[in-house]
């Protein structure tokens, strides 16, 4: 039985009491129970959000550390490229100085 079904049943009982002209402490208690149930029903709307605690987001902290290492490799590769370019430029000069024609 859902909260809504319980509430409906209690409200029917309440209505029967009113129709019968009953106005005693029991009826008042029933009304209070209904009130509490209505309040609880407002909470039930948001209950599925409690499941969020079980939703685990993957730990990505390692990615940050590894990205730093990749950046280091990028910097190293750029340094290697600069060195290669310098070596080739020097080699070209030496070859030209030796009288070997090279394309521009």
């Amino acid at each position: 039985m859902t909260l809504q079904e319980i509430l409906d049943t209690l409200q029917n009982t309440m209505q029967q009491l009113e129709d019968a002209g009953v106005n005693d402490t029991n009826k008042h208690d029933l009304r209070r129970v209904i009130t509490r149930l209505k309040i609880a029903l407002e909470g039930a709307i948001f209950d599925p959000l409690r499941e969020l605690d079980s939703v685990q987001v993957p730990d990505t902290s390692q990615l940050k550390a590894l990205a730093v290492q990749v950046q280091q490799e990028i910097d190293n590769e750029k340094a290697r490229v600069a060195l290669v370019q310098k070596l080739v430029a020097v080699s070209k000069k030496v070859i030209r100085a030796a009288g070997v024609p090279l394309p521009v």
Partner: protein, 211 residues
């Protein structure tokens, strides 16, 4: 014999050229363009997906906020109606009370009951608000994780798009020789074909010379 020697010489030269060009091509190929394109596209798509995810979470959060407001409104209404009912139910006993002490007790009970309902309403509002805040916090956590994934992918892409030292070296060398890489690749293919033909001719020559 002369024919066989010629075939051997051609074969050796072709193999040597093939090795050199294959080495050059292997060194100079660097990261294939297909890999670079996929990597760039992946970063682009992930960026776009992050945007969609943010927009989606925003809508869900607005929906949750609206639900919370509606629920708070209903809770206030419940509290108000309960207070009204409590008051109505207390009116008759107060009127019928024989003395002040009885009246005070009835009014005290009325105040307590109204306060109890009010407290229950406030607590429920607080619980609901906490759950919606939890939803938003989870969204934030998920977006941060996705941003980290995207940043890592971007970093990988930076590396993939980078012109590598061996690639630069071969580009410079082929520039010196005056050919381009496409021609080298084509040459390697051509040489491989020629070698295949030489191999066939060589086998045919051996068969012909066999007694």
């Amino acid at each position: 014999m002369e024919k066989q020697g010629l075939v051997h010489a051609s074969r050796a030269k072709a193999a040597q050229s093939l090795s050199v060009l294959a080495l050059l091509c292997t060194l100079g190929c660097g990261t294939p363009m297909a890999v670079k394109h996929l990597s760039a596209e992946q970063v682009k798509v992930q960026n776009s997906y992050l945007g969609a995810l943010k927009a989606y979470f925003k809508v869900i959060e607005e929906f949750a906020d609206a639900q919370l407001k509606a629920s708070n409104f209903r809770l206030d209404d419940i509290a108000k109606k309960a207070a009204q009912d409590e008051t109505n139910e207390a009116l008759k006993p107060v009127a019928a009370a024989q003395d002040d002490a009885s009246r005070r007790k009835i009014l005290g009970d009325l105040a307590n009951n109204v306060q109890d309902t009010g407290t229950a309403v406030v607590e429920q509002k607080h619980t609901n608000a906490e759950l919606v805040a939890k939803l938003k916090a989870k969204h934030k956590e998920m977006l941060e994780a996705y941003q980290n994934i995207l940043d890592a992918q971007q970093k990988l892409d930076d590396y993939i798009q980078l012109e590598k030292a061996d690639e630069v070296l071969v580009n410079q060398l082929v520039g010196v020789v005056g050919v381009n890489k496409d021609r080298i690749t084509q040459s390697v293919t051509d040489i491989a074909n020629i070698e295949g033909q030489i191999e066939k001719a060589f086998k045919a020559g051996v068969v012909e010379q066999a007694p």
